[in-house]
Every structure is written in C-alpha cells, then in structure tokens.
C-alpha cells in the first residue's frame, strides 16, 4: 500500500509553512497555483515563503500584492495580506510599515506595475529609505494583460503594442530600475538576480532571504530585481525561456549587487506611543488664561462690530484683525475673522473681515462694514463705498481723498505710519490704527486687548511697542473726537 510506504519516508524538503496547505483559488486543483508552467513566480514565491519560514516571521509578515500575474499572491501566502492598486504597492507598503513598525512588510511587484505606472511610488519609497523589502519581478513584458510592451521590454523585442519590436526612437530604452535606484543614498541593499539556471536560482534565493532579513534587522530599504521567465507570453518552452533569461535578458540587465550598506546602516528608531492624557497639551489646548466671564464684557450695550481691514501685504492687516477678534473672544463675545487669501496675498494687497457681536454670527463676510480700516489709498478706494451710513473710516494718510468723502460717514484720517515711526517702528501703524478703532468702538475691556496681544505677539520688544502704539491710537481718536464735537 502506498500509504504504508510513505510513512517510511523522512521529509527532507517540504512545502514552506508560510504557504497555505491548499489553495482556495483553484477549486479542483487546490495544490496548484494559477501560474503557467515554467513561470518564475512560482519559484520566487517558494523562495520568499522559505525565507519567511527560516526567519520565523510568518505572523509578522504583511505581503503587499500588486496588480499583475501575482495579484493573487494572497491565495498562497499564509501571512497578513493586502492587495494594492496598480503600481501603488510601495506606497501602501510605506504606510503599513510606518503604522506597524514591528511588522515585516514585503512589496511584491512586476515590471509593468513597478517600473511604469508605479515608477514614482517606488522611486520615492526608495529615496525615503522605507524599511520595506521589495521583490521586483522583471519579465520584460506585461504578461497578465496578454503581452504588451513594458518599460523593461528589450530593444527589438516584440509585444502586442510594439508589433515590430521595441525601437529606441519610439519607446526609448529598457529601464534599468536597479541601477536607477542605486543612484539614491537611502537604499540599503539592491541586487539583481536571475532564474536562468540552478546556480542563479540558488543566488536569487539567498538575495531574497537577505532582503527580508535586512528588514528584520531594522535596516531599511532592500530591493531585489529578479529576471524571471514568462514562457507563455514569450512563446518559448520553459527551458528555452530560462536560456533567454541567461543569454538575452542578462545582456541588458547584468546580474549583481548594486548596493550593500548593510554593515554601516543603523536600525531605525520608531516613534513611541504618547500617553493619551498629554494629547490636549500637545495640541496647545490646555494653555492660556481662562476667559473673562461673559458679564465682565462691556455690559448691556449691544455690540455688532463689522470691520473690514485692508492694506498692502506686510502692513499687518491680518494681525490687526486677529488681535481684534482674539480680544473679542477674550471678552466673551462671538467673533469671526476671515482673510482674503491666495494670489492677493502675493501680489501685495491684503484684507480681512472681522465681526464681533453679542449674538451668534450668521455670515462672517463683512460686505457692508461699520468700520473700515484702510491702510493705504487703493484699499480706501476699493471699499469706501461699501461702508454703512453712520459708519467710520480710519484712513492711513493725512489727506483724505476728496472723491472718497461721504456726508454720511465719519472719517479719521492721520499719517499713522509716520506716527508709528515716531513711536519707534513704522510697522506698528496697524496697532495705532487698532487703538483708534478700539477707542471708537468702546466695546472691549483693556484687559482683553492685552490678553489678545500677549497671545499673538510673543516678542517682548514688539509687545511693548504695540502697547504704546495702541495707547497712542486711543489718544488720537479721543483728540479727534473732541475736535469733531467742538466743531459740531
């Protein structure tokens, strides 16, 4: 009986444990893969499974399957499996590894997948030195889709999309991925191996194990290119296919180690988990003084400040608005601040919308301001028509342009830049103007304004300057208001 005979055999070479016992994909032939006879994938799979076994990392291994003939690698490998989009395996591998540094991540990709559609992903994964192992199976053709041209197709080689053979003029030259990646600093190990004969196969097996082991040692990016036969698409017998690898492919793609920095490279240190309690502090959500209780904000009086601030970039337009909004928040008001953003920021003008109110703010857009702070003439001319009747214009300039004068709008026009310069720095003009605005609005306690300024201006010298500038602005407004009332 055969079974009795079999029990007398000692198993010296069994199927790797990292393969499933049976392959569900093939309903009737569960001991067979879907690969064609003579295809290199079966051999490479076995080398990889054996390496996983030998290194004792079956539980830790995550295999990334590509799109291509090896898309079903997950039917064979009894490891964690993630199937990726075409060409993206090394991007997927990057994040699996960074998420689970203890895992051993192997990205398994063909030449269409890796060298064409995924060329950016592999280049950058290699350049970042991702701690992954990449097995690159190069058969110089798109096999799964029926034999189309790949960047690795040899010159003169026929494919369904290069029916007359690849020409350098039309398709360029065969892409040597290993050599390309070996120009980068980060990769730790790059080797090209072949499946041309048994000797080459033995070397390929060693290389694949080495790449996986490098990752177990925490060393970084390892890349093994395997020149692999494709008898079906090449229309050669398995034996002739091996010969073609050896005698033809290897002329364009010479075998050998292109990079070995395994001795000098140190294992990568991964970030540690951070205690949950410290997260709000890290996000800056626990610092800062408590707000003034709401009732301390100027009591009773309705507040609906709708401010438009505009000027040149660099005049501190946005900061002016931000201090105002921050002070409003500190005083317990509802606030909003909306900047103009984008090209305006770069071409020199800048403006923002600020609202302060006791009531919830519906729209943060200020289309009809009750105060316009115009830090230059173009800004004044852009927004002066929009100011609400009875509103104010604070203008940086001693001469208020005649064409902007309106009977129904109050104006405070002063050379604020010059005034700030006299205080020590022309750049504080924004704070002098804010001082004037605060005085006219009479809505915010001084303490809130200083609290806001402290949060936004960290430099002690500028803080002191801005404090003086705000005070000066308040004075100027009071003086002007007195004049207005005298004149009235």
């Amino acid at each position: 009986m055969p079974s009795e005979v079999l029990t007398e055999f000692r198993v010296v070479h069994e199927k790797p444990h990292s393969f499933y016992a049976t392959y569900k994909r093939k309903e009737e032939l569960q001991h067979q893969t879907h690969y064609c006879p003579g295809c290199g994938h079966g051999t490479i799979h076995k080398m990889l499974a054996r390496a996983i076994d030998e290194l004792g990392i079956q539980d830790r291994t995550v295999l990334i399957s590509p799109v291509g003939c090896s898309v079903f690698a997950y039917y064979y490998f009894d490891v964690g499996n993630v199937q990726a989009a075409h060409g993206r395996a090394s991007a997927v591998a990057t994040a699996v590894k960074r998420t689970r540094p203890e895992s051993v991540v192997i990205s398994y990709q063909g030449d269409g997948d890796l060298s064409a559609i995924g060329s950016a992903e592999i280049l950058h994964a290699a350049n970042r030195g991702e701690s992954i192992a990449v097995i690159f199976v190069n058969n110089a053709i798109y096999s799964m889709t029926g034999g189309q041209f790949a960047p690795t197709t040899l010159l003169g080689q026929k494919s369904t999309t290069t029916p007359l053979g690849r020409s350098a003029e039309n398709e360029g030259y065969p892409l040597r991925m290993s050599e390309l990646l070996a120009t980068l600093e980060a990769p730790v190990y790059i080797e090209r191996v072949g499946l041309g004969d048994n000797k080459e196969i033995a070397q390929a097996s060693r290389a694949i194990r080495r790449a996986v082991e490098n990752q177990v040692r925490g060393l970084g990016f390892s890349f093994i290119e395997v020149l692999s036969p494709c008898p079906t698409i090449w229309k050669l017998s398995p034996v002739d296919s091996q010969r073609w690898v050896r005698e033809v492919m290897e002329k364009t793609y010479p075998l050998g180690v292109l990079r070995d920095r395994t001795k000098e490279r140190q294992p990568r240190v991964w970030p540690e988990e951070v205690a949950l309690e410290s997260i709000p502090g890290i996000l800056g959500l626990t610092d800062g003084e408590a707000l003034l209780p709401k009732e301390l904000a100027t009591a009773g009086k309705p507040i609906d400040l709708q401010v438009r601030v505009a000027g040149f970039g660099g005049q501190g337009v946005l900061l002016l608005g931000e201090v105002l909004a921050e002070a409003g928040l500190d005083a317990g008001l509802e606030v909003s601040w909306l900047p103009s953003y984008g090209p305006e920021m770069r071409s020199g003008t800048s403006n923002c919308h600020v609202r302060l109110s006791r009531e919830a703010i519906d729209s943060p857009l200020v289309t009809a301001p009750n105060v316009l702070v115009a830090m230059n003439e173009p800004s004044l001319k852009k927004f002066d028509k929009a100011v609400k009747a009875g509103g104010w214009v604070i203008y940086n300039g001693d001469v208020f342009p005649e064409e902007c004068a309106r009977a129904d709008v109050h104006v405070l026009a002063l050379p604020f830049t010059q005034i700030a310069d006299e205080l020590g720095d022309a750049r504080a003009a924004n704070m002098v103007m804010l001082g004037a605005l605060l005085e006219l609005a009479d809505a915010l306690p001084q303490a809130s304004v200083y609290a806001a300024l402290r949060r936004l201006v960290k430099n002690a010298k500028y803080f002191a300057l801005d404090e003086r500038a705000l005070a000066r602005g308040r004075e100027l407004f009071r003086a002007a208001a007195k004049e207005v009332s005298h004149a009235g």
């Binding site: 499996n81 800062g288 857009l365 289309t367």
Partner: protein, 368 residues
C-alpha cells in the same frame, strides 16, 4: 477647556488627533496646505505619522496602507488633488477601508483658481472613482463644525468601514472662529479586520478584487446595504426658521452662513422664509427636504458652483415643489441682493405680498 480662536484648517487637525487619528499622508495644495502643516507639527509629537507624499496618488494609497494596518488616518486636499485621489478612494470603498479626506474646495475645472468654490460636490458626493460605491460626506459651515464634523467623520468611517469626506469651501478652512474641543482624547483602537503583522490578524485580507461575477455582485450588494443603512441613520441638516416658511433657501458651507443672514434680513421685512442647511451631503437630508415641502411652496438653492447640489434637492422633491437656483462662481460669493432679488420675485409671483405686509407688521409689533 477654553475656546480658542483658530482657522478651520487647524481645527480639523486638532480634532482628528483628539479623535484618535495617528496618521496623515498628504500633498500640499492651496487652500488646504495649513491642514498638512498643522499635521506635520502635531502628529509626530502625538506619536503619530506625518508624511508628505510624492503625489496625491501616492498619498491616498498610503492611506490605503495605513487603514489596512488599522490606524485612524486622514489626508486633505483641494479639487485637483481630490481628482487624483479618486483612484485610491474607490479602492478603499471597495476594500471597505475607513479614512477621512478633507476637501477644501477651490475653483475649477482644471487649475481653475485658488479662490473658494463649491464645485467639487459632484466628484465628492457622487463618487469620482470607478465602480458602484459612495463616500459619506459631511459639510461644515464654521470652524467649530470643522472640529465637530471631523470627529464625526472618523466615527462614521469606522461605523461603515468606508471613506468619509469633510467637504468645505476654501473660506471655511481659512476663517478663524472660536473653537471648543472635547476635554479627553479618544484612544486609538485597532479594528479586528486589520492586517497588522500579528498572529491574530495573520489570516486577514484587504482587497477590492472579486473576480467572479456573482462574487462581485454580492460584494456590491453588501456595500449597498451599508449605504441604505447610512441613508436611514445618518442624514443631518439644520433647519432654521422653517416652521412657517413658504420659501426655503437651501445652501451648505459658507453659503449656509450667508443664507442665514439673508433669512434674518428677509424675516425682518416679513417674508415667510426659512433656511435648510444640509450637514450631510451623502446621505442627503432627503427626509428633511420632504418634511419642509409639506409647508413650503418653493425651494431656492444657492451654490458657489454651476449647480450640483441642486440636483439632489430636485431628486428629493421629485417634482413636488419648484426649485429655483442662484449661483456665483470663480470665487465670487452670492450676495444678499442676488438671493433677495429672487426671493422677492417669487414672493410677488406667489401672491405673498399681502402676507408679507401683515407679517412685517407683526414683526414690528413684536419688536416694539
């Protein structure tokens, strides 16, 4: 915890980390770059991963990997970048991988402009990738909602094992408003289906490939069941002053804010008007639209696009009520006058003038 003044874009990141997000893979684009910048600052300190990818294509596929490995993860971009991410989003929906994608909409098509628009509605709400799938979509209209709805997005992503979009126009990201956050951070928790390089997860498989006809059909039907469940459970909207509204304005994001001001103004002049602000765009708040249609006689949809959400309002109404459309594009914002003009015309056509005069009197009496 005190309220802090911050940009919507910064609120997203803080909220995400508090919600247990520990991975951000992104690519810079105006007006979403502050999100990546804040993530780059905070995530490493919080023990997470920030990586600027080589492209949006790579970034979304990194999310595919991160999510496969069982971590809460997110990215942020704007129109052109979202277009590039559609491949990965389709794969993630197919492989049932949760993630959060913030889209800070800018002008299009093509390079368009960097000014705020709402023209990504179709590519986000209707699904821009291949295959039969949906993404869940929340639409914040304030900095506070950027925080709140980001936290909700992570919950929904896990609950439905599906990508969730935070869809905001550029304004909402750039605007600073006071934001309050929860006191406690949520602990990252690995789902049991993840592939994490452990014994327990070794037999797990992440894939969107189902080669057999029946197999794929069954898979898509399974996805559909999830979407029906979400449609029943997750519709969210804000209705404001709609109790007796004969005209209902509909707008989301920044437009929702503008329409609130318009509604207040119109109400003061006695127009019987209300606002419906969809908070989830998929599932679209169909139930609320139908409920309002029992009373309202006309709906006015306002968008900063060529008219994309308006289709969903029409579908929800199914011809029961007329729908008017008002829009601006290119970064322009619909003004009060744009909207009020249409509303006044409708009121006149509907013979609401008498009603309006009476209501104005009532309002004045109430204020006096």
């Amino acid at each position: 915890m005190r309220k802090q003044l911050m940009k919507g874009n910064e609120a997203i990141v803080r909220s995400a980390i508090l919600a247990g997000c520990r991975a951000f893979y992104g690519y810079p684009i105006t007006p979403a770059s502050e999100i990546a910048e804040a993530a780059a600052l905070y995530l490493p300190q919080a023990g997470g991963v920030f990586l600027q990818a080589e492209s949006e294509v790579a970034a979304i596929n990194m999310l595919y990997g991160a999510s496969s490995a069982g971590v809460r993860c997110m990215t942020a971009s704007s129109g052109p970048g979202i277009s590039l991410m559609q491949e990965g989003i389709s794969y993630m929906a197919g492989a049932e991988l949760p993630c959060v994608v913030a889209d800070l909409m800018r002008g299009g098509p093509g390079l368009g402009s960097i000014n705020a628009e709402q023209s990504d509605y179709n590519q986000v709400v209707k699904g821009g990738g291949n295959g039969s799938y949906h993404t869940l979509v929340v639409a914040p209209s304030s900095a506070q909602e950027m925080a709140d709805l980001t936290a909700l997005a992570f919950e929904l992503a896990d609950r439905y094992r599906n990508p969730v979009f935070v869809l905001a126009d550029g304004f909402i990201g750039q605007m600073m408003e006071p934001v309050e956050f929860p006191e406690r951070a949520i602990a990252p928790r690995m789902p049991e289906w993840a592939v994490a390089g452990t014994r327990e997860t070794r037999r797990n498989l992440i894939t969107s490939l189902h080669l057999g006809c029946d197999e794929l059909e069954a898979h898509v039907q399974h996805l559909e069941e999830k979407y029906r469940r979400a449609e029943r459970a997750e519709q969210r909207a804000e209705s404001w002053r709609t109790e007796d509204a004969e005209i209902v304005l509909v707008g989301y994001g920044m437009v929702g804010r503008i329409l609130k001001a318009v509604t207040a103004e119109a109400r003061a002049s006695g127009l019987p008007m209300g606002l419906l602000r969809p908070i989830t765009l998929y599932p679209f708040p169909v139930t609320e639209v139908k409920r309002l249609a029992q009373r309202a006689r006309v709906f006015v949809v306002v968008e900063m696009s060529n008219g994309q959400m308006v289709d969903d309002v029409r579908l929800a109404l199914n011809g029961a009520r007329p729908v008017e459309f008002v829009n601006r594009m290119g970064g322009n914002v619909p003004s009060h006058e744009d909207v009020l003009g249409v509303v006044r015309r409708l009121a006149a056509e509907m013979g609401l003038a008498q009603f309006t005069a009476r209501r104005a009197e009532e309002e004045q009496m109430a204020h006096a």
